[in-house]
């Protein structure tokens, strides 16, 4: 579905990714893990054309999408949930879901908003509350919910568990698996490597802008992963 070939990318002349290759098949969860500064988020930002791609190409269903604008990417079925400030704090939950997505007619949009409410009932309960009053986990649900309104084929998640309590993280990862089971393809960048590897069909380990390791769930036992995440080199 998505093919990244020899991607070099970065910001303002600073190269972060030094030639990476990633393949994503339909209905897969692909996890991208690695130490801080390895360039995980840059991969997602390159797909969504927020980082500067200097060479290489990104194909989506065999179409080259490397230089497409963000709204064109959204039309093609790629949605992105950024990290950090992910919602419009002073807009209501409902407004946060309605906003953007101008290519969708109102009836379809309402239908999809109801779908999001079914998926995350708490958002329906709080639909008239301002977004900043939601808890961290609910904020994440809202951001993912907004991305789903576009009915994406590929969902890009940038560190969704950041700042969530372990319990909420567990819930979030369950939701991500559920979305995959509903037919979505997901690329997730995560700090919580263990959890990410557990839900992912395949995992890529990124180090210093290069792919250092790739594999399925058994990657957890790999020496490199143990080194990085169980108090090794880093």
């Amino acid at each position: 579905m998505l093919e990244i070939k020899n991607l070099h990318s970065g910001y303002n002349g600073l190269e972060i990714l030094e030639g990476i290759d990633i393949n994503i098949n339909e209905k897969e969860i692909i996890a991208l893990i690695g130490p801080n500064g390895a360039g995980k988020s840059t991969v997602i930002k390159s797909i969504f054309n927020i980082a500067n791609v200097t060479s290489g190409e990104i194909l989506f269903n065999e179409k080259n999408i490397t230089k497409l604008k963000t709204y064109e990417l959204m039309k093609l079925g790629i949605s992105y949930v950024s990290q950090g400030r992910i919602n419009f704090n002073n807009l209501s939950v409902k407004e946060n879901l309605e906003i953007g997505n101008d290519n969708i007619d109102k009836a379809t949009k309402d239908q999809r908003i109801n779908y999001v409410y079914d998926l995350f009932p708490v958002l329906k309960e709080k639909k008239n509350k301002l977004a900043f009053t939601l808890s961290g986990g609910q904020q994440q649900m809202l951001a993912i919910g907004r991305a789903l309104i576009q009915k994406p084929k590929l969902l890009l998640l940038d560190e969704p568990s950041l700042g969530l309590s372990p319990l909420l993280q567990k819930e979030l990862f369950k939701t991500i698996e559920k979305l995959r089971d509903l037919g979505l393809t997901i690329l997730i960048v995560e700090q919580n490597a263990k959890k990410a590897i557990q839900i992912a069909d395949r995992t890529y380990l990124l180090e210093d802008g290069k792919i250092a390791l790739t594999g399925g769930k058994d990657i957890l036992k790999h020496k490199k992963i143990k080194n990085i995440y169980l108090g090794g080199r880093y």
Partner: protein, 291 residues
């Protein structure tokens, strides 16, 4: 007796300040820089109104409509010609602020060049006083209060109930996210400049009828509009309206007990106190969380 007259006077001047302040705050919240040249929109509107009504003898209502559209377009012109290119060069907000003061002075001088420095007046039947038992007011002043309140309510509805209002609030809240989800923030900037300048235009027409025309009235008004915005909270349009009425009340009570010479001193004292002790204003946003 005097108390009612003071309140009426406060409402009149507060309404004019509010028309200026809400546009200023609307432009600030969507663009994140201080558009001090907003004051010149008031002046341009009042001189265009004078030109249309007194010189070209165009009908009163048509003159108003014409002036409002032109003032709104003038706002877009300022954004496109001055701020847009600076933003493209990634100029800081301080540079934009300095540019805005420059624009204010430039157009003030251009108006002096075209219309001269002599004070101009527009004669209107609307300025004949009506005496009530406890206060005096002119029909124009009643129109100023009522129209302003209606317009401010309409602005509130526009911001709350329409798509463009929602997009403006979204850009004001989180510009980066807005652009990620495909909101054209340039378009939002154009709208904010058009609507903000149009509201300043309404203030300009009222001032042309109520007071005399001078090229420098814009500077005074933008300072007062800015003060109103700071008092109420510069990021909040309703806040800036509230702040403007508070300023109007403070000024009028102040000149009743002191003298009219202290009017500006009162405004600046308030501005100073708020900047020092409550810089986010009454309804402003503090660290991303509404108090």
């Amino acid at each position: 007796m005097a108390l009612i007259q003071i309140i009426v006077n406060s409402l009149i001047i507060g309404s004019l300040y509010a028309l200026v302040a809400c546009g200023f705050s609307l432009i600030y919240s969507t663009n994140k820089f201080m558009h001090f040249a907003h004051g010149i929109s008031v002046v341009i509107a009042s001189y265009l109104f004078y030109l249309s009504l007194n010189t070209l003898k165009i009908n009163f209502i048509i003159s108003i409509l014409l002036v409002l559209i032109l003032t709104g377009l003038f706002g877009i012109f300022m954004y496109k010609v001055f701020y847009g290119p600076l933003q493209k060069r990634k100029s800081s907000n301080i540079v934009l602020l300095i540019a805005s003061v420059g624009i204010l002075i430039l157009f003030e001088n251009m108006i002096m060049l075209v219309f001269g420095t002599t004070v101009k007046t527009i004669n209107s039947d609307l300025t004949k006083s009506i005496e009530f038992s406890s206060f005096i007011i002119t029909p124009l002043q009643i129109i100023i209060i009522v129209t302003s309140l209606i317009l401010l309510l309409l602005l509130y509805l526009l911001m709350k109930k329409t798509k463009i209002g929602r997009n403006m609030r979204a850009v004001s809240d989180n510009k980066e996210l807005a652009s990620i989800i495909g909101i054209d923030y340039k378009k939002v900037s154009y709208y904010s400049f058009f609507i903000g300048s149009l509201l300043a235009g309404i203030a300009g027409i009222f001032i042309a009828l109520e007071q005399t025309l001078e090229p420098t009235i814009g500077t005074n008004l933008i300072v007062k509009g800015f003060t109103g915005s700071i008092i109420g909270g510069i990021t909040s349009v309703p806040g800036s309206i509230l702040g403007s009425y508070i300023l109007g009340i403070a000024e009028n009570f102040g000149i009743w007990y002191l003298s009219s010479g202290y009017k500006d001193a009162i405004a600046f004292t308030l501005l100073f106190l708020f900047l020092l002790f409550k810089p986010h204003g009454i309804l402003g946003i503090n660290k991303g969380i509404k108090k």
